[in-house]
Amino acid sequence: MSLAGTQPRPSPAPRQAGVAKDERLAGVSIVARLLQRPELGALIGALAVYLLFATVDATPGHLFSSIGGMQNWTDAASTYGIMAVAVALLMIGGEFDLSAGVMTGTSGLLLGMLITRQQVNVWFAIVAVMVFAAIIGIANGVLVVRTKLPSFIITLGTFFVLRGVDVGVTRLLTNTVRFDISDQAPGFRSAQSIFGSTFLAPYNFQDAVLWWVAITVGATWVLTQTTFGNWIFAVGGDANAARAVGVPVARTKIILFMYTAMSAAVVGIMVALRFKGIQSGQGVGLEFFYIIAAVVGGCLLTGGYGSAIGASLGALIIGFAQIGIIFANWDSNWYYTFLGVILFLAVGVNTLVRRRAASARR
C-alpha cells in the first residue's frame, strides 16, 4: 500500500525523515509540531481542570491530588474512557454511534441472562457476549454503509430498539428490572479478577483503569502506525477520495462500528461482574458523555481528524469534574451546570491551542 502520499490528514506531523534538506520543512520546530497534535489542546485542558480542582479542593488533606483521590477520578473516568476511544475512532472515520451507551446495558444483561438462566460458564458467556456485540456492530455498520443514511439516524434506531429490548427481555425473564449474578457461578471469580476487580492493594484502583490505558495505547498505535489507521483517517476525511485510491471504505466503517459495539460489551461485562448484577437501564444516556469526551479530545464532528489519547483525556476531564465537584463540596444539584461550564472551558482551551498551533505552522 502506498498510501503515505495520499494521506488526507489535515495536519499530520511530517513523518518522513528529512534526508535532503527541504525548505518546506525548514521552519517546523519541535514545539510547533507538538502544538499541531490534536490531543495537545485536550492535554492542556485536562491540566487546567486538574489545577482548578486541586485548588478548590475543600477536603482535609487535599484528597483530589492524593493517590486515594486519583483512585476515585480514574474510576469515574475509566468506563467513559474505554468507550470514548472507540467513539473517537468511529468519529475520525466519519460516523456516530448513538447506541454505544445502551449497548453497554444490552451486553451486560445478556451476560447476566446467560449466567443466571442458561447457567453457562462465565467465560463462555463473555465470549458469547463479545460475538453478539460484534454482530450488532456489523449490523449498524452494514445498515449505514448500505442505506447511505446518516449513522446518527441508523444508530438512533438501534438505540431505541436495544433500550426496549433491555427492559422488555429482563422483565419477561426475571419479573424485575435487573439480573443478579451469583459469585458462585462457574468461572465467576477468575473472570471478575480480570474485568471487575481492583489492583494496588491499599488504594484499590479498578481493573477498568488498566483496560482503559491498554485500549488507549492500542488504539493510538493502530491509528498512527498502521495502514488501517490511515484508512480510518481517509474514510472520515473524504470517503470518495479514499475509495478512489483503493481504501475499502465500507469494510473500514463496519469494522469501526464493530469495535465500538465490542468496547461497549467490555464495559457492560465489567459493570455486570464488578457489581454482581446489572440493571436494565444501564448505559442509557451515556453515549453523549462518550461523544463529548471525544470532541473535547480534539475529534472533529465532521470526521477525518482526532486522536485516541485526546478522547482519553476528554474522559479524564469528565472524571476530574465529577469527583472534583464532590471534593470541592459544591452543591450536587448543579452538577450538570458545572460539568457544562468545565466542558466549555476545556473545549475553549483546546480550540485556542489548536488555532495558535495552526497559525504557528507557517
Binding site: A76, N175, D180, G277, G281, Q282, L286, G319
Partner: protein, 330 residues
C-alpha cells in the same frame, strides 16, 4: 419460504387468541359475581406486571375472597390514557366502588369524574397533593387514600438512623428531578434532626460504576458521614454498598423498599434496615373500606391518608419477611 410464512401467520393468530382470551377473562369476572348478588368493585392502577404490583394484586384478590366480593383488576402499565379508559369503562359498568392509583393529575381528573357520578372512590399508592396545594382526596372527592406518604416515611427512616447511633446522614438522590425522592430526604432530615446532606447523583442506576466512584469520593471526603439513606433497593445493594466498602467507611446503610437482595443483606448485617411501604395493604384495605362503606356507610381515615407504611424490615423480622416475599405478599 411459504412454510416460514405459515409459521409467522400461526404465531400471529396465537397472539391474537391470547390477547382476546385475556380480554374476556378479565371482564368476565364481573357478570359472574353480579349473579351472586355480592358487591362488585373495580380496581384500576397504573401498575405493570412487576413484583411491586403483583403484591398489590395479591392483596386485592385475597380481600375479595375473604370478604366474598368481586374485584375486577386492571393495570395500565404507566399509561395515563389507558388508565382513564379503564376508569370510564368501570363507570359504564356501574360498580359498587372504584379503587384508583392516581398516577398523574390526568388520571386523578378521570377518577374525580367517576366520583362525581356517585361511585364510591378510594385512591391508593400516590396520596399526594395537587399543584394547587389540595390533597388528592379532597380534590377528587375520594373517601380516603391508602399509601405511604413520602415525607412521613423519610422521617421514620431518619428517626431510626438517629436511634441506631448516626450523627451525620447522607441522603442519596438517584434521580435529580423526582419530587418523591426529594420529599423522602426532606422527611429524613426532619426525623434525623442532626446534620443531614443530600447528594444528587442523577441517573445513578444507568451509570452504576461512575455513581459508585462519586459516592465513594463523597464518603472519603467527609469521614463524619456515618449513616446513608438510599431511596431504592438496587441503589442500596449495588452503589451504596460498593462505595461504603471502597471508601472503607463504617456508615450504616438504610434503604427504601425491599428486594430479595436487600433482605439477604439485612440478614447478614450489611444493610441496617429497609423502609417498607407494605403495598399488600394498598390492595387489601381499599376493598375492606369499600365494603364497610357500602354495608354500613362507614368512612375510614377521616378523609385523610390511611398509611400503609412505613413498615420497617430489619434483622428482627427479615427472615419472616423473606418467607412472605416468597409467597408474594411482601
Amino acid at each position: 419460504m411459504s412454510r416460514i410464512r405459515v409459521v409467522i401467520g400461526l404465531a400471529a393468530l396465537c397472539l391474537v387468541a391470547v390477547a382476546c382470551q385475556s380480554g374476556t377473562s378479565s371482564s368476565g369476572t364481573s357478570p359472574a359475581a353480579a349473579a351472586g348478588s355480592s358487591y362488585r368493585f373495580y380496581f384500576v392502577t397504573h401498575g405493570d406486571n412487576g413484583t411491586f404490583w403483583s403484591v398489590v394484586q395479591k392483596g386485592e384478590s385475597q380481600a375479595a375472597s375473604d370478604l366474598g366480593v368481586s374485584v375486577n383488576y386492571q393495570g395500565s402499565n404507566n399509561d395515563d390514557n389507558q388508565e382513564c379508559q379503564f376508569i370510564s369503562a368501570a363507570v359504564t359498568a356501574k360498580p359498587d366502588g372504584l379503587v384508583v392509583s392516581p398516577h398523574s393529575q390526568t388520571v386523578l381528573d378521570c377518577a374525580k369524574q367517576a366520583a362525581g357520578q356517585g361511585i364510591p372512590l378510594i385512591l391508593i399508592n400516590n396520596c399526594g397533593t395537587t399543584s394547587g396545594g389540595q390533597s388528592y382526596i379532597a380534590y377528587s372527592g375520594a373517601l380516603t387514600c391508602v399509601g405511604q406518604p413520602e415525607t412521613a416515611a423519610g422521617q421514620q427512616a431518619g428517626v431510626r438512623l438517629k436511634a441506631d447511633g448516626g450523627h451525620k446522614l447522607l441522603c442519596e438522590i438517584h434521580e435529580a428531578t423526582s419530587t418523591s425522592l426529594r420529599d423522602r430526604c426532606a422527611g429524613a432530615k426532619a426525623g434525623f434532626g442532626g446534620s443531614e446532606e443530600d447528594l444528587v447523583i442523577d441517573n445513578a442506576k444507568s451509570n452504576v460504576a461512575s455513581a459508585t466512584a462519586t459516592l465513594q469520593a463523597k464518603l472519603s471526603a467527609d469521614k463524619s458521614i456515618d449513616a446513608i439513606l438510599a431511596l431504592d433497593p438496587d441503589v442500596a445493594k449495588n452503589i451504596v454498598e460498593a462505595a461504603v466498602t471502597g471508601a472503607s467507611s463504617s456508615a450504616k446503610i438504610a434503604t427504601f423498599d425491599i428486594s430479595t437482595g436487600v433482605i439477604a443483606d439485612i440478614q447478614s448485617g450489611k444493610i441496617d434496615f429497609a423502609i417498607d411501604q407494605q403495598q399488600y395493604l394498598q390492595g387489601y384495605l381499599p376493598i375492606v373500606f369499600l365494603k364497610l362503606y357500602k354495608q354500613n356507610a362507614n368512612t375510614v381515615g377521616g378523609f385523610d391518608t390511611v398509611k400503609s407504611g412505613p413498615g420497617i424490615v430489619d434483622k428482627t423480622n427479615a427472615s419472616t419477611v423473606a418467607s412472605l416475599a416468597g409467597k408474594g405478599t411482601r
